[in-house]
């Protein structure tokens, strides 16, 4: 198949590079090659080289280098995923790890191989730019963008605009700390807006034009905050000028004396949202002008990259799906959890779970990546997405092809029917890879998913999002897990704090600690008791999180830890 010329590659809803973009990328790879040489020659000290390599996605972890590849707003073509699979096989251990930032990490990389890997990435218009470091990171969005039934504005268009704008931004590449932006164009927030430094909610203004509500100051870590509303109804043309204003205020006033207080959330907290809004608005009024206007012609040119694929005209309900569902309980379960409605009649969006029972959340083998690349070509116009929940998504699948797709997925261990269920755990790398970790998180996630492996039981429990972090940096988003698990170090012993009631959607909330921290071997039991309490107490149609909201954390604490705790 000619993925790179015509066909599926160009149908994929993603920004297509041209000569200028490719030249930029080639120059950037060359620049990094020279930086490596200058480090080796001693011209750059390690302290000087470190931020430069981080801005090219290269981390030094516990056992090896890790390279974090940018997947802009989580969108990949089949050709790109195949190349990632090949890199994983050639330079890593035949694996890749999909992250909560919709990126892909290779955990076992040699420094000498990095320029060659960057070359290989550039061949499919990919890179590792700004996946780390104190700069504007990969913009993330809804994994169902351009397909979701409830979508009002396609967020990919503006995610791409923000990606371009933030790429090697001359003013904002040495910020106090990392800066994460998320955008959604649907009322139902699947992009976890509330935990981002800046979050953009794209919507239709009263006159029908596209506009944005801007939120600021969300973030987890040791001082978790949910983002606050900063500006309502910002006109499309002002998006970049306004972001420039936010970043300029942050760059100037964000704290640089303490790494733990350097995120914009602390500035919001210390200055107060109203005063900060005044400062940003004043800056915005100064910046706003023809130079920083986002012209509608630019938006249109970028929107053209995200034109809908050539859908067939189909009836909305496809009888063959229903028939297959009644005949096959496993398929029916999968359709129920991993398939969501599409705005185009006769189509659906499919989540491919990377969370098999006992597996490592977000890991995929090179063989699996190649299989998914093939399936994306066969079933979804050669395009796929990475979700922030560390799964893959085929966004545009014909409903009458669902059974065929599911059958194919089953051949590669990718048919797990647990999207949004208790086995769909988000876990950070933890002590297995991360130098900052207090505790293991991957093996614990494996243990939990094994305990709840029974698909019928998982479906009976319903939606329940477990999120785990190996330390207070909260890469696993434990604060916003329906059940959150945080690894803490208690006199050198791995211990875990369990929270409940967190949420990352449009009703975002931080979880509350349910009881004293427990040892590694007790976590899964405690979770089982929380679930048992919920099953006893839930009312018709209530999810775990709803029952927690109705009864309060105390009821669960007493049930799980006993009345005295």
């Amino acid at each position: 198949m000619t993925h790179l010329q015509a066909g599926p590659y160009h149908q994929a809803g993603q920004y297509h590079y041209d000569e200028i973009d490719r030249r930029f990328l080639a120059e950037r790879v060359e620049q990094f090659r020279r930086q490596v040489e200058r480090r080796i020659s001693g011209e750059l000290t390690e302290a000087e080289f470190r931020p430069l390599r981080l801005m090219n996605g290269l981390y030094l972890q516990l056992h090896a280098y890790m390279l974090r590849v940018a997947v802009p707003y989580g969108v990949l073509s089949s050709a790109q995923l195949r190349q990632l699979a090949a890199i994983g096989r050639k330079y890593d251990r035949g694996y890749g790890h999909f992250t909560t930032r919709q990126n892909l990490q290779f955990n076992w990389i040699k420094l000498v191989d990095v320029p060659a890997i960057l070359d290989d990435l550039a061949k499919v218009d990919m890179h590792a730019i700004q996946t780390s470091g104190n700069c504007i990171r990969n913009v993330t969005t809804d994994q169902f963008a351009g397909a979701a039934e409830d979508e009002v504005v396609d967020p990919r268009v503006y995610a791409e605009i923000m990606r371009q704008w933030s790429t090697l931004h001359p003013e904002f590449t040495f910020l106090p700390r990392k800066f994460k932006i998320a955008i959604t164009g649907s009322p139902h927030d699947r992009a976890a807006l509330a935990i981002h430094d800046v979050a953009v909610r794209a919507r239709r203004l009263a006159d029908g034009a596209v506009g944005f509500d801007i939120y600021v100051g969300g973030g987890l870590g040791r001082s978790p905050f949910l983002a606050k509303l900063l500006r309502e109804g910002l006109p499309e043309a002002d998006l970049l000028a306004y972001l420039e204003a936010v970043l300029r205020i942050y760059n100037q006033y964000g704290r640089r004396d303490n790494i733990y207080k350097a995120r914009i959330k602390i500035l919001v907290h210390e200055v107060g949202i109203d005063k900060l809004r005044q400062q940003i608005d004043a800056e915005f009024e100064r910046i706003r002008g023809p130079k920083y206007r986002l012209e509608s012609a630019i938006v249109d040119a970028i929107r053209a990259h995200f034109a809908p694929p050539p859908f067939e005209v189909l009836p909305d309900e496809v009888p063959s799906v229903v028939v297959a569902m009644t005949g096959d309980a496993a398929f029916a379960r999968w359709v129920q959890t991993n398939v969501v409605r599409h705005r185009q009649p006769g189509y659906a969006s499919v989540t491919i779970s990377l969370k098999p029972a006992g597996g490592i959340p977000g890991d995929a083998t090179s063989e699996q990546m190649e299989a998914v690349a093939d399936l994306a070509e066969r079933f979804s116009f050669g395009e796929l997405r990475v979700s922030h929940e560390q799964n893959l998504v085929l966004a545009h699948v014909r409903r009458d092809a669902l059974h065929a797709l599911w059958t194919e997925l089953g051949k590669h261990g990718l048919e797990t029917a647990n999207a949004g269920l208790i086995g769909d755990i988000i876990a950070c790398p933890g002590l297995d890879y991360c130098a900052l970790a207090n505790a293991r998180s991957i093996p614990l996630a494996q243990q939990i998913s094994e305990r709840f492996a029974d698909p019928e039981r998982q479906h009976l429990i319903g939606e329940l999002k477990i999120k785990m972090s190996g330390c207070i940096n909260a890469c696993g988003h434990h604060h916003v897990g329906h059940i959150g698990v945080l690894g803490v170090d208690k006199h050198g012993v791995e211990t875990y704090q369990i929270t409940i009631g967190g949420s990352a959607d449009e009703k975002a909330a931080l979880g509350a600690v349910v009881g004293p921290a427990v040892g590694y071997d007790e976590v899964t039991d405690k979770i089982e008791r929380l679930v048992a309490a919920y099953l006893d107490w839930r009312l018709e149609g209530e999810r775990f999180i709803d029952t927690v909201a109705r009864l309060g954390v105390k009821a669960f604490r007493e049930r799980v830890y006993g009345p005295a705790a």
Binding site: E27, Q31, R34, E43, E48, W165, L240, K291, I298, A301
Partner: protein, 168 residues
């Protein structure tokens, strides 16, 4: 000794940096700290030679905005290259306060930041005389495409992109 770079090449430095404690201020163009400017404002204003002011990274553009017509040069300090506040300060001086004099980067800066400096309004960079000049020269032409409007730019080529780094 420090070298001065302009447009990627070594340039003559006609400015003298004056210590806060120095009792006499020599003839010719001098650069003083913001503190000294505030202390000796009258005496410094009375001199008939160009005056420059040096700002620490936490002294933002607003601190000198009202006095900018007195200065021919503003030097912005990088205590460490990771402290990127001066990029915003330079841009504020140019875009908001209309400063047209020289903006000089002093302190710890890397060649890898040279293009960013130019694009945010810096005109010169002070580097150690041990600096690898080849790296500095090369830095201006290393990347030829930018994706956002900045100070020195022409109109976009297409989408958000524009050509940069034609120097060197």
């Amino acid at each position: 000794m420090a070298l001065l770079l302009k447009d990627g090449a070594v340039a003559e430095n006609s400015w003298l940096a004056i210590d806060d404690e120095a009792v006499t201020v020599p003839e010719g163009p001098v650069i003083v700290s913001l503190e000294r400017w505030r202390r000796d404002r009258a005496a410094l204003s009375a001199r008939n030679t160009p005056l420059g002011v040096r700002l620490k990274s936490d002294q933002l553009a607003g601190e000198v905005a009202a006095d900018l017509d007195r200065f021919t040069l503003v030097a912005l300090e990088f205590p460490v290259f990771r402290d990127g506040r001066a990029f915003s300060t330079a841009r504020e001086l140019r875009e908001h306060h209309g400063f047209t004099g020289e903006i000089r980067a002093v302190g710890h800066v890397l060649p890898d930041q040279y293009q960013f400096l130019v694009r945010t309004g810096f005109t010169s960079v002070e580097v150690a005389d041990t600096a690898k000049l080849e790296s500095w020269r090369h830095a201006l032409s290393e990347i030829s495409v930018a994706y956002q409007a900045a100070l020195t730019d022409d109109t976009p080529l297409s989408n958000l992109r524009r050509r940069v780094g034609t120097v060197g």
